[in-house]
Subunit: 396 residues, 2 copies
């Protein structure tokens, strides 16, 4: 990609933080602060969101989609920065497993992100400059609190369903724990009740890569007119490996050379997997803010449902009426099936209602975003059954 | 560690490249060039090495130890830069599994490294400056060719054994393939016949982290008076995660906070695993050269015994008399047991002699460097049996 295109995209992306295109924005003024786990209040703040489908008369068919680390509100419509289709068009849309002809789908950008909900890239009204590291550190619980305020603003008391994978799945679990009466059914995919030491370690590598970049300027890169592109690209490259599986990398690339038969005996991208990774790194920088990356990885690291509930996850779910469908993927080594089993065991221990599926795939953690017919069938079946119980007819 | 100590160590380490302390050095002049796979000759060059024990009268008790990516010749004696014990004192020494009272142990720094064998940190005689990126890209086969020249210089025709783990294990396999008549028995540990796509990907992240550091200066950091410390530290952090297992990280650190009970809601090293990783990164920079890191990771990426032998690893081993003992570790996800099984299958297919052990441990890839009693017992038993066949008596 040329330097001009890069500059244009960076500018487009930076603009999203305050004025997101193709999105609705809910503004929460000084009378409605967001109370954060860090012990401070964020005020004023805004939430950027998208909706798909139609809310029914008794406001009972709302489905909240929670996005993953670098996702956004554009689940089922084109991303205004990249122009690419929404990140979950496989799952969300007319006739899709999360059927927008039946359900009113809401997807909001999480607090701390950079696509229009308040985060470190947003303008701090006190200074007129981006928040940067003055933005308070947030948690998954804070994200969910903000989403609940959005639902209040939309006058939606109860969600028919809340669904998401990875960091989105953490939010799903937190929704059930924080607002048990507001969630009829829940679909946490490829996630865990707490971030493992290995996952914290990978996140820390990414943060160190960003912070090692002299263009980061302690988070003040916008003011300094720079951007920690290389550090953020390295962070993304490391993370991207964890989203795939060894088998998927082997199937896609193996040891194939890039546009040649033999090694170059140099540090060029000799292997296809190298140029693929470099592309993943550089294209990510076009669409994501480096400070948001720090904040959101931190939020995932802090997530620990057991610690928040007297040491046992089951306490988080006690007395819950929410129906759960927990899904894991065999080749996901970032959130392996054992983590999903822990969710199931906790729900069993608390007397919850849960079904569980482990889907056989070599696609790794990212399987929840990809074409996985078994995931689609399970989601459709689970939502159909829950909709019947909820008394939602086919028309919504 | 203070800045002064850091500077002292960096200077000490830089000195090792040309004039390694506590090491022997074999010098190969213009009449003895090293013919490299890249199609060029390296000349002159030197190999730094250590020996332990005594060579017997018929020169039949030599054991070559091959070190891993960031190892060196100081297998069983203190490292002159760090002052720490040798990296394989658990395995090598008087009465140890590789018993220096019986065997004459040789351990040489590989070509391309930075501890006294010629590599990118060494002075290029043509310029009087460090080679940097003018150093030719090398392969595992080149390392082994250089080791064979060292044995010639020591007037040792045949090795009783060659042993090593990880990149060292690759050299062990290459020894059997390149010099089948010179190796009586071979101990490749925690290795593979080729580097996987995922492993290449992790190496590429490390290289990109180094090269993204502006202090790297296209490899000319010594001349520029800088050092890509932060980039190399990030590379090491990412790699270090792959050397451990999820279970080991969980056992050692879990989600324990560093010197406190609660999160700081900041980007400080809140979790113990974070400060551990940061320490791994910063201490590595004290003892290793960034360009060497690029060259040696590249050599591992290029390693592919099958590609070198008409597409089948078995071809590399055909007609071999060498006895093999292949060892893997259950929790090693960098070189999983399936890779060791491939070695065994190839040896079986070529009619070779091989025993195989998979050791149950949660210590991950690094298990071959750690206190693993089963590894010690297997190594001792294998070498004892081979020594009997070789007619080595207890005195060597």
């Amino acid at each position: 990609m040329g330097d001009v295109e890069t500059a244009v995209r960076s500018t487009l992306r930076a603009g999203e933080a305050d004025a997101p295109r193709n999105s609705e924005v809910a503004y929460f003024g000084p009378d409605k602060p967001l109370k954060l786990d860090a012990g401070v209040e964020l005020s004023p703040f805004q939430i950027a969101y998208k909706t798909y489908g139609t809310l029914n008369a008794d406001r009972s068919n709302a489905v909240l989609i929670c996005h993953a680390l670098t996702g956004d509100q554009h689940a089922a419509s084109p991303n205004p920065v990249t122009g690419k289709p929404g990140w979950w068009v496989t799952m969300v849309g007319p006739g899709k497993p999360i059927d927008t002809e039946r359900y009113f789908v809401i997807c909001s950008n999480v607090i701390g992100s950079c696509m229009g909900s308040t985060g470190p890239a947003s303008t701090n009204p006190k200074t007129g400059e981006p928040w940067g590291l003055d933005f308070p550190v947030i948690t998954i619980r804070d994200m969910v609190r903000a989403q609940a305020m959005l639902l209040d603003a939309l006058n939606i008391e109860t969600l028919f369903a809340v669904a998401g994978g990875s960091m989105g799945g953490m939010q799903v679990l937190q929704w059930a724990a924080s607002f048990p009466k507001r969630v009829f059914c829940a679909l946490p995919l490829a996630c865990a009740t707490r971030h493992s030491a290995q996952n914290i370690a990978f996140h820390e590598v990414g943060r160190q890569a960003v912070m090692a970049d002299p263009e980061w300027h302690h988070g003040r890169y916008v003011v300094e007119g720079t951007e920690p592109r290389r550090g953020l690209a390295v962070a993304r490259m490391a993370a991207h490996i964890t989203y795939l599986s060894d088998a998927a990398l082997h199937r896609k690339f193996g040891r194939k050379f890039q546009d040649r038969d033999k090694p170059t005996f140099s540090f060029d991208a000799d292997f296809e997997v190298e140029s693929y990774l470099r592309h993943q790194g550089s294209s990510f920088v076009e669409r994501f803010d480096a400070n948001s990356y720090l904040y959101l990885t931190r939020a995932m690291d802090y997530f620990d449902l057991a610690a928040d509930h007297g040491g046992a996850v089951a306490n988080a779910f006690r007395g819950l009426d929410t129906r759960f469908c927990v899904v894991s993927f065999t080749s996901d080594w970032l959130f392996p099936t054992s983590e999903s089993r822990n969710i199931v065991h906790a729900l069993n221990a608390s007397g919850g209602r849960v079904s569980f599926a482990e889907i056989v795939t070599d696609k790794g953690h990212d399987a929840f975003l990809l074409d996985e017919p078994e995931l689609f069938a399970i989601t459709r079946g689970f939502l159909d059954g829950a909709a019947k119980m909820r008394g939602l007819n086919n028309g919504g």
